[in-house]
Symmetry: C2
Subunit: 354 residues, 2 copies
């Protein structure tokens, strides 16, 4: 059976371990409001006064209330997939994975971008209440703390893809990729080809995944007893232009590298263009490795050697966790990193003989 409005409104108060703790009737009595009013708050309706909503949400939270565990066989109707920005080809990979799982379960995938702006995030939260979403998947999202609290009070199940830092909601399950191992694999590949001076273009340092890739790069150099040279690490922000600029900085060093490992595919494409403009060929004059394995880099010129992040699988897994949570099934493993994999194509080769 597909959940109609009836099923979407059904709700019981449960403690975090899944046992029914209080009924909505008890919450209503304690708050001094009607049962339909509690139900309206539970379902994120807007026709409740702010004071009443705050009182009821506080009680729901204090009683460890968990929203609408659907009866067995019923299906949630909507999940929210939230990006900071919809400006990267990797967003579509994650959407594809989430949509595939949600679609099969009869659940719609609502895609939103909050643009790192408080106003847009606030609007999204209002919309989320209005549509009584059954769960939220945040992608590398740094929601402001006030919104974390609201999400927790709403009691909507939450999962996080590619956590930017500590999970914004402590109890939310997270799905990431083995960024450290991927950074190490890419660097080992270049070392095995004979490179010793390997440049690294970083991601934004506030993201955990950036730090993990950098540490993987350093660990591989260490293991090969190659001294790390701080000049060979230049900043980037995952976007192509920063790869273009970063590669330029590396080429301008008194002793430039013979290979560049960029912490994202998009920066690797920017780096390749910087090399082309200086008349340098990839891989004959310089090897380049990326990170992500976006579909388009199979067709870059040359096709890019990169570290595959299973973005679509990450989306699938997060969606499955969320659908489980919506049925009050705790995920078996709430902190998961899916394996990355080195994909060797045509942008890497042994260093040119000096």
């Amino acid at each position: 059976m597909v959940a109609g409005e009836g099923a979407r409104r059904k709700a019981e108060a449960r403690s975090p371990d899944g046992a029914v703790k209080v009924t909505i009737t008890e919450i209503a009595r304690e708050a001094g409001v009607s049962v339909p009013t509690v139900s309206r708050v539970v379902n994120g309706r807007s026709d409740v006064s702010p004071a009443t909503r705050a009182r009821v949400e506080d009680l729901l939270h204090r009683h460890g209330y968990r929203r609408r565990p659907a009866a067995p066989g019923t299906k949630a109707a909507l999940l929210d997939l939230v990006f900071n920005d919809l400006d990267s080809p990797w967003a579509v990979e994650i959407i594809r994975g989430v949509e595939e799982v949600a679609h099969e379960a009869g659940v719609g995938t609502v895609v939103s971008a909050i643009h790192d702006r408080a106003g847009a995030a606030r609007q999204w939260m209002t919309n989320l209440r209005a549509r009584a979403s059954d769960g939220v998947i945040l992608v590398t999202s740094a929601l402001e703390p006030g919104l974390h609290d609201e999400l927790r009070h709403l009691g909507v199940p939450l999962a996080v893809i590619d956590p930017a830092g500590r999970s914004p909601v402590a109890e939310a399950p997270t799905v990431g990729a083995t960024n450290w191992a991927g950074g190490m694999a890419a660097t080992e590949h270049l070392l095995q080809l004979g490179h010793r001076r390997i440049g690294f273009i970083e991601g934004p340092p506030r993201l955990l995944c950036s730090r993990a890739r950098l540490d993987g790069y350093r660990a591989a150099l260490d293991a090969a007893r190659v001294a790390a040279d701080g000049d060979l690490v230049v900043p980037g922000d995952f976007y192509p232009e920063s790869g273009f600029v970063g590669a330029g900085r590396l080429l301008d060093l008194p002793e430039p590298p013979t290979a560049i490992f960029a912490a994202s595919d998009q920066m690797a494409l920017g780096a390749i263009e910087a090399l082309r403009r200086r008349g340098l060929r990839v891989p004959q004059d310089m090897s380049v490795v990326g990170f992500d394995d976006l579909p388009e880099v199979r067709w870059s010129s040359p096709p890019l050697t990169t570290v595959r992040q299973p973005l679509s699988d990450m989306g699938k897994l997060a969606a499955r966790m969320l659908l489980d949570l919506a049925r009050d099934v705790e995920p078996a493993a709430p902190r998961v990193e899916l394996a990355t994999e080195l994909v060797v194509r045509a942008s890497t080769a042994p260093p040119r003989r000096a």
Copy 2:
């Protein structure tokens, strides 16, 4: 006020010109069912027998019924954005545009892929009913005829982006791009550079946009009094591999072209890779032009000369039309083509002197 369930269920029967024609009570009487049953059908609920649903939908359709014109100031809660596949970077461009407009209006954007398979489309239709979506945007979608009829019967407003052929629902507004003018502009650019043998890699012939781009190419050749050579037109399917193969076929001609116009950016990237593998440089040995202006081609090597399709603006306009329709406002112009624009970058140059 944000629409709660109450507003989402409110519905009146209207004729296509917006005048109230029959009430739900009259439909119920004529169908021999209760008013709540008609309401359940109108709202796509699943708890109605198939026979009753069919009878009621038939009556609603015969009376020119239009679903839920929201009261002024209320907002629709959800719109559905439907792709055949979520496998192309241009999908994210359209999603971005639709989401931006929907988000501002307090409306969630539900993204789905129906994979050109009847089963998935059927499941989507079931989900659509269950979530009582306020409108549907189809992207280049060839829904099977049975589903067109169901959509029409459901009375959900519909808009089509980049219509694949005749509009699947005759009265639905469409948003496209000036494909013919774009094909002409790309070809004129190559002619002005001095090219006379210009290869063309086609899109799928069943899509109107493919045909329009090809006709634009031919029109530009005609206008310049350059004889069209049928060997210079090779098939493709918009994906990179077909550009790779198509470029190979053009290069194998007894008299190969000096420039290639690919009807999509992804095919242009495939063509550039085919040239690289044969040791040919772009643009020194061969010029290449694409179509779309995906964000990534700013950073292809070399950056691609292409025809910009305003994909994100197309998404925005379709979303606006749909939100208008949901408020029973007919779009001022129901068939719109947004202007394409030639963007000259580094992949085109005069032909090499023989």
